[in-house]
């Protein structure tokens, strides 16, 4: 009985550790996708005034 409770506790602990890794991985993937999305949005809406030290002619 006691060993059953102990093994259940160990399994729960392993599950919690997996949860940490999975959550971290998912948030990292979401952040990377957000970088791609923000880059696309900034590139689409950017003008010469958004880029430092670049003239309008250079930007074109």
């Amino acid at each position: 009985m006691a060993s059953g409770g102990r093994s259940a506790k160990v399994a729960q602990h392993e599950q919690n550790k997996r949860t940490i890794v999975e959550l971290t991985a998912w948030i990292t993937v979401a952040a990377a996708m957000l970088v791609v999305g923000l880059h696309a949005g900034i590139s689409a809406s950017s003008t010469a005034a958004d880029v430092p030290r670049v003239t309008t002619a250079e930007y074109r």
């Binding site: 809406s45 950017s46 030290r53």
Partner: protein
């Protein structure tokens, strides 16, 4: 190469958002929300998530800095992004970014060396993240161009700030609710006799016998004169509902 500038902006914005999430998670630590979620998942999961996301934030910040440094038309050297005020180009925004980077490095390094530091020293350094975040928000806002078409990126610092403010407000409300039934002057203090009575009352144990006294009832003697004051006096026993004893002021801790 302009694409590299846009990439560095996107990386900086995501770093700021991640920093907001990390700060909000840290603010929610030990509040009623973390206790409520502890039923579903233990508290160490939230703590580990806070730590992992902080490390990922550092990676994104490092990528942001590297992208800015390798962009060829920005005259920035490595020390410009570490030492505030050394950049001649765009001094204020770059200086704010350097301050935020230094504070972030201080928090990360102190947390890595936590076992060698006292808890108070670590906590003082860790709390500088509440300075680092506004500086990073200022860096993002000052760097945003209001003349161009990317003004909408200001949504990200706004969202990150809202996350942090919500976390701090929840923490403040949670602490107030927890201590609402105890007067400020009496928090953490108790009278030993009252505590013993309350413990007996809570556990259903019998009260301590030596506090009980049996007063023998004496037969009233016929008094010729007016009734004496002794007859009007009754002895009562203090129960669990006895009033709180006023304690002397506690000496101020240094």
């Amino acid at each position: 190469m302009i694409e590299l500038w846009n990439v560095s902006r996107a990386l900086g914005l995501v770093s700021l958002l991640l920093m907001g999430v990390v700060l909000a998670l840290g603010a929610l630590h030990n509040t009623s929300m973390s206790r409520a979620t502890a039923k579903a998942m233990p508290r160490f999961v939230l703590v580990a998530l806070h730590r992992n996301l902080a490390l990922i934030t550092v990676v994104f910040v490092a990528l942001h800095v590297v992208a800015v440094l390798v962009t060829p038309y920005l005259p920035l050297r490595w020390f410009h992004v570490v030492v505030p005020g050394t950049a001649s180009f765009n001094p204020w925004p770059v200086g704010l970014g350097a301050v935020a980077l230094d504070l972030l490095l201080a928090v990360v390094i102190s947390s890595s060396l936590r076992r060698y530091l006292s808890k108070r020293a670590w906590l003082v350094v860790h709390w500088t993240s509440y300075v680092c975040f506004p500086v990073a928000v200022a860096h993002a806002v000052v760097n945003a161009s209001f003349r161009g078409g990317t003004w909408w990126t200001l949504v990200v610092p706004l969202l990150a700030s809202a996350l942090v403010v919500a976390g701090l407000l929840y923490r403040r409300a949670s602490r107030r609710r927890a201590a609402a039934d105890v007067p400020l002057a009496d928090r953490g203090r108790t009278d030993p006799a009252e505590a013993r009575r309350a413990a007996d009352h809570a556990t259903g144990a019998q009260p301590v016998v030596r506090e009980m006294r049996v007063v023998p009832r004496t037969a009233p003697a016929p008094a010729p004169g007016p009734p004496a004051e002794d007859e009007a006096r009754t002895e009562t026993l203090g129960g669990p509902e006895a009033p709180t004893v006023a304690l002397p002021p506690r000496p101020r801790r240094r």
